[in-house]
């Protein structure tokens, strides 16, 4: 029952207009931005360089239309005058301009080069920190949070930060310089024309915001319809067998058509409205152009300005709108960056497992005597589930943990391995309180075979040798043989070098379990935690797993999450769990005699239908 989040579909609207829905707002914008700046600390010097490059490059770019205007003036002067065009002067301006263009390009590239470095290195640092953080968080965190959420922080959020940093850092600098620079140039040409140009701005802004507001509404509607349709398709296709066997096709198609119509209505409106922007802006800029031509013409006729100036001014006007719409966007980009960064920082600031110092070292030889003394524990402090639990387990005893699904059988594993610390009381191994040992040492005492087998991407040999990285090939094969896994491994084309990946179907669930047993055998820990297989394994492999587990647990203190009656009946101690608590313990005969929950559980399994 894999839960799939509806996939996000193509964020950008048509014509590459960027309007990725209503931007997510960060809760503490300022604080988060400051933290990002902190991450940039090693690159302060470079950042200054970036700004310098951007300033120089933009300044050159802004200067060029005016100079190009001089060229035109030079030509007109030549035409009007008697002497003809002064081609030396034209060439002089031309060479000067070529240099400017090239220099502007070079500086702009240098700036892009450095910014790439910075943003990528920051991304690297973010990812590294998150990964490191994962290794330090207590298990409690992982049990409470969905894996998908953490993965999305490492991938999507960090990606957003890196892209936006790269983009907006450069944009903020260039856009601001461009706006100021162009304004100065415009005013230097003619204040009358500048007023016209600036008057056009609010008009076009008003129109754009009018259109954007409308199209944003439909865009959001479209996104929500898309989410709905994704959800419906996912649900119907995943449950296709049910839809078919219950004749639910019509119902499903009707629902689909309802959402599809909604999607169509919002879709075309959103697309049409966002497409309005270009023609409207085009018209308004032409309006400004005509205004400039008329007023400029009048000024020129009166000899106040030159034709070259008008040409330059028109070029400036064309360059003016872009940085302005960019700055309008920067706010959104910064918001999105802050929102993404906030999620990453939130993760990085989670409380870590305490650092342990001054702990006892574990004796070399462990007998495997385990004591629970008045143990109290609850996942939430105010909801204790294990209350005053005391039991003494002799070395080499087998402990079976039984109870219905969801009774919290893994709690015992969590406590023994110190994945969680108990609230009060003590758990001790060979009379040493596990709280006084290093967490890693405690975990090293146990071999663990869980039901949802975990193997990592790598070869079978590497997976078996996980707990003993320097194991020889011989040891690995020996362990596999002991776990009855050697046979199936040798039937694989690549044998022990077969790569195990998430998608590999060549290995069945049962076989994976055999591999985890081999892994535990090779690690050779003095105590064991086992989780018996349930239904997903075919009977023959199950028999192999059982023999392998019996072999493994022989002579070691072992805790078994038991499903098989034979395991339960032969256990030295049975812990009966219900609703998280251990409600009974003892061996089979004791518990049957007690006629309690265990007896009821036991007899219900064999009741006559």
């Amino acid at each position: 029952m894999e839960k799939r989040k509806p996939t996000a579909i193509s964020k950008g609207g048509p014509m590459g207009m960027r309007m990725g829905g209503t931007p997510q707002k960060a809760k503490h914008f300022k604080k988060t931005m400051l933290t990002i700046l902190g991450y940039m600390k090693p690159y302060w010097g470079y950042l200054v360089l970036v700004v310098v490059c951007a300033v120089v490059s933009t300044a050159f770019a802004i200067a060029s239309p005016k100079i190009l205007g001089h060229m035109t003036d030079e030509i007109i002067k030549g035409l009007m005058g008697r002497k003809g065009i002064n081609f030396d002067a034209v060439a002089g301006i031309g060479i000067w301009l070529i240099c400017l263009y090239i220099l502007s390009a070079v500086f702009s590239y240098v700036q892009g080069w450095i910014m790439t470095n910075i943003s990528q290195k920051i991304t690297y640092a973010f990812r590294k920190d998150v990964s490191k953080k994962i290794s330090k968080l207590p298990l409690r965190y992982f049990d409470k949070h969905e894996n998908g959420d953490i993965v999305s922080r490492v991938t999507n959020d960090i990606e957003t930060i890196s892209q936006n940093l790269n983009q907006s850092m450069t944009q903020i600098v260039t856009a601001i310089i461009t706006i100021i620079g162009i304004l100065c140039m415009m005013i230097s040409i003619s204040w009358q024309l500048t007023i016209i140009a600036i008057l056009v701005l609010p008009i076009s802004m008003a129109f754009i915001s009018l259109v954007v507001k409308r199209s944003q509404k439909y865009y959001d509607k479209q996104q929500s319809a898309l989410g709905e349709i994704d959800g419906h398709v996912d649900e119907m296709f995943s449950n296709h067998v049910i839809v078919k066997t219950f004749n639910g096709e019509k119902q499903s198609i009707d629902e689909f058509n309802r959402i599809n119509t909604k999607l169509y209505e919002s879709g075309w409106k959103s697309q049409f409205l966002s497409g309005l922007m270009m023609p409207i802006m085009h018209f308004i800029s032409n309006l400004g152009y005509v205004g400039v031509a008329v007023v400029g013409g009048w000024l020129a006729i009166n000899g106040k300005i030159s034709v070259g100036d008008i040409q330059a001014f028109i070029q400036y006007m064309n360059q003016f709108t872009q940085p302005i719409s960019q700055t309008a966007n920067i706010a959104n980009i910064l918001q999105a960056t802050a929102a993404a960064a906030e999620r990453v920082f939130e993760f990085l600031n989670e409380k870590e497992e305490s650092v342990e110092t001054d702990k006892l070292s574990v004796p070399k030889i462990i007998k495997g005597e385990v004591d629970f003394k008045e143990v109290n524990f609850g996942y939430d402090i105010d909801r204790p589930i294990i209350k005053d639990f005391t039991i003494h387990i002799q070395p080499r005893q087998n402990v079976a943990i039984v109870g219905p699904t969801g009774a919290g059988k893994t709690t015992i594993v969590n406590l023994l391995m110190r994945f969680y610390d108990i609230d009060s009381g003590s758990i001790s191994i060979d009379n040493i309180d596990i709280k006084d040992m290093h967490r890693n040492d405690v975990r090293g005492l146990f071999g663990m075979v869980l039901q949802d087998t975990w193997l990592f991407y790598g070869t079978i040999a590497d997976n078996i040798a996980y707990g003993k990285p320097n194991a020889t090939k011989k040891e690995i094969v020996a362990a596999a043989k002991a776990a009855y896994a050697d046979h199936f491994i040798s039937t694989l084309p690549d044998g022990y070098d077969t790569i195990i990946s998430g998608t590999s179907d060549s290995i069945s669930a049962g076989e994976k379990q055999l591999l985890t047993i081999a892994r535990a055998i090779l690690a050779d820990a003095p105590m064991l935690i086992l989780d018996e297989a349930t239904s997903s394994v075919d009977t023959r492999t199950e028999a192999l797993i059982q023999s392998a587990m019996d072999k493994l647990s022989h002579g070691r203190t072992s805790f078994v999450i038991a499903h098989r009656l034979s395991t339960i009946k032969s256990a030295d101690v049975i812990l009966v769990m219900k609703d998280g608590n251990i409600i009974e313990h003892g061996n089979h005969d004791d518990l049957m005699a007690k006629k309690g929950y265990y007896a009821e559980l036991y007899s219900s399994q064999f009741s006559v239908v």
């Binding site: 839960k3 898309l226 398709v233 219950f246 663990m448 996980y466 349930t534 239908v609």
Partner: protein
Amino acid sequence: MKNLIKYFKPYIFWLIVLIAFVWGQANANLTLPDYMSKIVTDGIVGKNMDAVKSNGVTMLIVTLIGGLCAIAVGFIASKISTGYVRKLREETFIKVEKFSLNEFNSFSTASLATRVTNDMQQIQNVMAMIMRMAFLAPIMGIGSVIKAYHLAPSMSWIILVAIGALSCLIVMLFIVVIPKFSVIQKLVDRLSLQIKETLTGVRVIRAYNKDKDQHTKFNRTNLKSTNLNIFVNRVMALMSPVMMLIMGLSSLAVIWIGAYVINDGNLRIGDLLALMQYVAQTIMAFLMISIVFVMVPRVAVSFRRVNELLATEPVITDIDKPIHLPNKIKGLVKFDNVSFGYEGSDQPVLHDISFTAIPGETTAIIGGTGSGKSTLLNLIPRLYDVTKGVILIDGIDIRNILQSELRSHLGYIPQKASLFSGTVKSNVLYGDGNKKSESDLESAINIAQAKEFIDKLDDGVKSPISQFGSNVSGGQRQRLAIARALAKKPEIYLFDDSFSALDFKTDSTLRKALKKEVAHATFIVIAQRISTIMQAEKIIVIDEGRIVGEGTHQELLKKSKVYREIAQSQLSATELMENK
């Protein structure tokens, strides 16, 4: 592609109208520089204020016309693309709803879902974009070149050089960068895979004290990805400065070289401005065309994927003259020499299966994983059709019955229970035209042992159920799935290992209730737990697709080796005897 074109037919007229508007838009854009030129030459240089004003007004009118055309284009383009995709989406969804499991297997569920959602959106966005640019860009590009040529034939080479330089830049960037993109994508996937691996394995990793190793492994990929990204981004950073450089140099060239042409008396000063515009417009058109070229292959992939789906005909269909079943049937299910193999596989999954399931009795099927028992059950609702032999219900070959009619008599409970988003009630009463009543709901819930937990929910049967039923526990989900089948009141029940998610106690009370309340029905039950089926009237043991034993529990213990093995692995010897 026949299917795709078929659905486009209603829009062909509108496409022609769209092209007409594009033509208007392009023409308006192309004549604008003429008026600019006139304003400068006749007006400003010629010191004639009236020429400035009249040309200015005409220019505004032309702009307005062009703008209106552009708006019309946008309107038609968005109507066509969304309308077409809406139809396409609907047709693909209806098609998929007709698919049998054969088609689901060959496509995979995730791939089908992508085709109906992501691919459609891709097609819609790209189509709108193409309709706006694919016609406009060539007209504008060619028009600009022609206009420029008319003004100054000797200067049109500037446009060609500028475009040549641009294409060199774009081609070079793409040759260097495109192959790296797929590598980057792989590394990104690898990163999230490694994180997922660490997260799912956190207990094992901690048990083996391997936290540091996992981190080192991740960081190795991290470093690789960072370095490659730096390389690619540095190359891509070339794009914008070089483009600006080309733009700048080409306008410089127009004026500089134009000086000589003007000097020879072949060009007016205002034309320089017009020429600069034409150069800029050609470059824009060229960029648009390159965008279209990048988009087309992408959308072609989506089109192909959708077409593939539409071209697939479901293997399982209704025959022309079906036999109709009465409203109430007896429910006698008979397998007669049935063999089955998946499409495209020579290896049959089931061989010569013959047995009869009698109303009022439980017929249990047991066998190891991969023995073919779930497949066998899937044959009865015709999720797959038999390859050989015949399945009869009340003596009628099920292939001669309408699928919907056949299924209305079957109550199917899948192995992994899954629910729909809605309420408890909408789930239990799901399907079959919703003809079921309140009392059906009540009794189904009671028999399925779901009453107790439903009553504890805040809104009882009106409590919300989220997608896949993820807000209730596995056992509860299973009980609701059973209630859903019960509410149909079918004559034949198909349980696909549906009890394994229940604890032993609920399992047995539920079976008792079933036996009591729906005594007349035929039960076909697949199970893993021997205890679930020990009491069945008939147990069929399947191994590697063949029936290897048939009889009651006690009979099979004596005569079937496979059954004994299964039994021994689950029960100890004394328990086997105890339950005589």
